[in-house]
Symmetry: C2
Subunit: 414 residues, 2 copies
Amino acid sequence: MIRNISGGVTAAMGFSAACCAAGIKYQDRTDMAMLYSTVPCNAAGTFTTNRVKAAPVLWDRDIVSSGCPAQAVVVNAGIANAATGKTGLDLCRKTAEAAGKILDIPASSVLIGSTGVIGPNIPLDKITAGVSVMAAALSDTQEAGTAASRAIMTTDTVNKEFAVSFELPAENGVGTVTVHLGGMCKGSGMIHPNMCTMLAYLTTDCDISRDLLQQALSAVVQDTFNMISVDGDTSTNDTLLVLSNGLAGNRCIDKADETYSLFCEALFTVCRDLAVKMAGDGEGATHLVEMRVYNADTKKNAQILARSVVGSSLVKAMIYGRDANCGRILCALGYAGPDFDPAVIELYLVGEKETVCFYRDGCVQDFDEEKAAAILSEKEVRFACDMKMGSAEAFAWGCDLTYDYVKINGDYRS
Amino acid sequence: MIRNISGGVTAAMGFSAACCAAGIKYQDRTDMAMLYSTVPCNAAGTFTTNRVKAAPVLWDRDIVSSGCPAQAVVVNAGIANAATGKTGLDLCRKTAEAAGKILDIPASSVLIGSTGVIGPNIPLDKITAGVSVMAAALSDTQEAGTAASRAIMTTDTVNKEFAVSFELPAENGVGTVTVHLGGMCKGSGMIHPNMCTMLAYLTTDCDISRDLLQQALSAVVQDTFNMISVDGDTSTNDTLLVLSNGLAGNRCIDKADETYSLFCEALFTVCRDLAVKMAGDGEGATHLVEMRVYNADTKKNAQILARSVVGSSLVKAMIYGRDANCGRILCALGYAGPDFDPAVIELYLVGEKETVCFYRDGCVQDFDEEKAAAILSEKEVRFACDMKMGSAEAFAWGCDLTYDYVKINGDYRS
């Protein structure tokens, strides 16, 4: 059984966090975070598929693919260190060297993350000063994890963290031990992850082989972070990392048995929660939007259809306006790509208490407009489409399109 | 040589037009248009690839694919006749029958077009009354064509028409004759054509075989209507039709020779003009945006890259805000799909008088922000990207993302 617990990146044993106000771009707020494990960790990650990859993405991808253990993460907000060429890669190496030296770990075990404006260079002196301050301030308290999640925000309006615990067989063969898995993420604009999301960091004290950790992450990301969209723009910096240090004392998960399944379930729970939080906090958003596609022929098609709806500008604008213009949802299903029969599918607006049928038998239905408007006023707006083809299902999450999205992105750099 | 001339759908000989205020949804304005040729025409068309196709799309596609001659077009604005099932198809048939009867032509030679809200049924009595009024008012004047182009507008802010003339060898073998090609279109929201655009109607007095007419249209649409995007939403109603009645008296174009090439050039000129007008009149738009991708490896990849940039919400918002946040353009190129080397491409902002280099050698350049902001204030904003891979080129057109887009689409049906 997976239990929700409080906290985030410091929920698992052996992990500590810190943050500081390095003044990289933002003033009067924290803008750097550090994560640290008392022992080396297995690391798994998924990264943006954008051809233009930020320097920290290249740095982290090298470490994760090399199979080397990781032990710390250094993240900054404000400047993305993307489109910065060799200078940007040097900055990563020097940051890792500075952190490695002060933490007494190899530079190759320090992962780097950056988020913010594309183009400018990050001032190295501010980064290294921040690393020194944070190394001295590392704490395994819940408050330290929360402060770290706040420090990596950009246009986010709320910090995003989540954690769970579950029981696994003990290493010594006697009974079970409690395993923890928590994480934090940031992301509000340029959110349309492909292989993973903006920045998300998970930590666990579970003992699991590196290969299975990567396998679990690669599978879970498809149903969670890859199913959200704020604006259709896949970032240059998308990074999802998970670190496992094995301190829970469970019998090591080294094959795809039922303990692996339980770990995957926990990983799914944390990733879904963080992904949904990100979708609901999309730039300027006033609603979280969920699209469920069920009875589809394949899961892949269900995912494509669901994601098309939450990505439609017209659907997003109608939700902001609380206008039950359901033809736009049909339209977005229709241009998504997968084949289906418009004469048999059924489309619903699913409220907390009532459900409205928008479309059936090839026709938009004569529904109660007032009831529909009331449901569209709920904070979380849910649509469901029965494809009448098979038994596959998928969920996608997004947000509405508002004046504030335009305002935020018309003048982001100022 | 292709000459621009005034007028639109009535520029070609033998074509007349009319419009009326049928009161289908809008009040106090015209909302129906009719086109008519004094003789039967070859008809070619391209239609939406959306799985959910409006009834008029199904009706027109049948006529065009059957090879039957066409002689009239009846279009309404306000209701799209989409997601209306059998009732919607019956409405098309009855409309064609009413028009055929009063014009004394077969119902199977009457093409139908609708644009507006998806879902509601169009009242048949208003449509047939409108058909009667328009049949009696048909006129081959330029004013009648312009009035027709106004009648099919929805959220469009300007009517869109264009015409050209060119010389072709005469049918009798003595010298040349003047051939005319003109058209009108509407489209402002739900614009991301795939195989063609919202509603566009072209007329020509050129004598050309039906097969070559279709071949020319299918080729030209790829570089014109299919290269514009307002909001990424491919409509259920996209329809592009061209009618040729042969009245110019040219030697019939029945093989792909140089006269066919000249016709294609004229068709391209008209389609590009109408497509660019549609992009520039995107819902809420204050700028036309042009993205040129050159020295790409293939034309297809150049098109995908160019279209990705004009479709990016973040790029669109930055243009509205006149913020030279060029990392967003790089980002949109990067997630478009085609492979390229971010270390060698070059990105430019092309003003009327000056050009600014945004990105080169893998790094965002240190450009003059004031100069860039001034260029971004021009009515037409142009970007160009040198891919350094080959010699293929493509243009895509879009518009900025503004408060008014959200306003228009948050409350479209009211």
